[in-house]
Symmetry: C2
Subunit: 350 residues, 2 copies
């Protein structure tokens, strides 16, 4: 029986449409004839907001929920545009989707592919995955300010952490570690300062660990984790951490493994109650948009994560293999965005 993948596509702003087009090209090339890819494009992003006033309406959100998965490019306009101040697109669109679609796992692999150079002199074998919590922590929007604009202003931000929310992502991280060769999980937090949130996380990690005797667990303060990220990244296998620490660590992880032009991510609802969403870690880079200068590799690797999530592990592996082969042979040649997409499509057949 032919299968259909009902995909929502949000190309977004800046380089988003360019890299998303290549990810779709690769998806179409890798899927067998009996799997039909049905693509529905949505215009959301800064440009759409400035034109229409809509960031993401309830109706739009309801429509997105009908799809099986979401392919997301990048959103964000000119950072100096006052109409876009206060992260209105980031919070109203990207974070709103992560929260509304209960993407409690933000999965971000970090791999230094052969042929890719790292800013580190001796990176070693970089191959780990960060399991970043996606629906709690300082990202919940539970802040506020008083006496705004006066000498007596007080502005607070509250990180909210629940046993329910922490346990499910910690369990996912243990499953991930268990499935990997090294079976090693590093919990990253700042338990010596953030004692309440840190205590909750630590107790849950300790308790779940008893169910995974094969997984070796250690702990690092977030500041120390950034040191190891540049002195000994090969020590990491699976990292589990909160939303904000995960944001910081995954940009750093992307940088040391060849740049965020290669860093893929999945915003995942493992329970499949809602569609998961796959996006490159990089932003919309308005300065280089429309010039075929962007590297679509991160978007293409994100499409592989999408297939993996949908149970199409063979096709995901084909994309990853093609990307690895292409990266190994890229050398110094400058290629356009769609040329890189074409090269990866060609490498699928090899």
């Amino acid at each position: 029986m032919p299968r259909t993948i009902d995909l929502a596509v949000i190309p977004g702003d800046g380089i988003g449409p360019e890299v998303t087009a290549e990810a779709l090209k690769v998806l179409r090339a890798v899927l067998p004839a009996d799997i039909e890819l049905v693509e529905t494009q949505y215009p959301f992003g800064a440009t759409h907001y400035l034109e229409s006033g809509e960031v993401l309406s309830d109706e739009s959100l309801a429509r997105l929920k009908q799809h099986e998965a979401i392919l997301f490019g990048a959103v964000g306009g000119d950072p100096r545009d006052p109409r876009l101040a206060g992260g209105i697109i980031e919070r109203g669109l990207l974070l709103k989707l992560r929260f509304a679609l209960d993407h409690y796992v933000n999965l971000r692999p970090a791999t230094l592919f052969p042929g890719i150079s790292s800013p580190l002199a001796a990176p070693g074998d970089v191959d780990f995955v960060v399991v970043r919590e996606g629906t709690e922590g300082p990202y919940v929007g539970n802040g506020g300010a008083m006496r705004i604009g006066t000498r007596h202003e007080v502005a607070n931000e509250t990180s909210v952490n629940t046993a329910f929310g922490v346990e499910r992502v910690v369990r996912f991280a243990f499953e991930t570690a268990q499935s990997r060769a090294r079976k090693r999980l590093t919990f990253v937090h700042k338990t010596n300062v953030l004692v309440h949130a840190g205590g909750l996380w630590q107790r849950i990690v300790d308790r779940v660990a008893t169910e995974y005797p094969e997984v070796a667990v250690d702990y690092l303060h977030v500041d120390a984790a950034t040191i190891f990220m540049v002195t000994e990244p090969s020590r990491f296998d699976t990292i589990v951490t909160d939303n904000l620490f995960g944001d910081i660590l995954t940009d750093l992880a992307g940088a040391i493994s060849g740049g965020i032009g290669l860093a893929a991510s999945g915003n995942i609802n493992p329970d499949r109650e809602f569609p998961s969403m796959f996006e490159p870690v990089h932003g919309s880079a308005p300065d280089i948009a429309g010039k075929q200068l962007a590297d679509p590799t991160a978007a293409i690797l994100s499409a592989a994560l999408l297939l993996q999530h949908l149970g199409l592990a063979d096709e995901a592996a084909k994309i990853n293999g093609a990307v690895a082969r292409d990266l190994a042979g890229r050398g110094e040649a400058r290629r356009g965005t769609s040329e890189t997409g074409d090269a990866i499509v060609a490498a699928i057949g090899e």
Copy 2:
């Protein structure tokens, strides 16, 4: 008229006493005959707590306040000791001092000295200073938890930011940037997510900037800042940021500029209402304690920051120069902690 420096010394735990001894050795060597260094040792730290039950009593705090400045080694015992769980020493001693002595500037220079190798393949000219806020943000201890240990636990941490607290550290950062050759200030935050705290910081940075037309100001999200820290650290001159982001960025900054064995810091009350406190960024490293394996350079550079703060700029420069000369000639030879202190003392005369 002979001058006296009335110094409180808290050597602390682990390698703290070893590195502090070398910092004192260098201080004594660099001060001219008409400046008398009066040292009062205090036993605080994990060992003292386990022996006496005292972390830092009100009486001890009152005594510390009488001194002109504090030289601090490192504190913290065995991380797996349950009696030390929950950051009891870090919060009850180190953070308590920073808060009680109103150390609102946590000053952390990052310099890659000639002869020192960085984990980065092409670090360039690394020479910047981080002005980390020291008395606000997520460090205030305004968190709490309910239903602890149950499936319904909720644990919150609140970052508190005030116009008063932000403006004074931002002013210090502009003064710092103004005094430096490149006159460049980078404000680091996460304004697209932490909109209340970020908005307060951003408005104050913008307003104070108008008083420093010579200082070029830019902004980076904290995640992007970690990328630049490994791809182009030479872009930084002065960084101003909050307590938690500053904690993370300065460990990373230490790592890329030769390791936190070289990273100095000052917990400063610029208004001199209370004694300022100078400490290496590194911890107590109990695993190598007592073996003369620790590098005392960070403690010695912290002593130079102490002299600078006390208005003894020439003597501070002498220490910095001696450290630079020693580092340039160190090579691969392994030296003991006190040998390194001796070598730096010897280099003062050169």
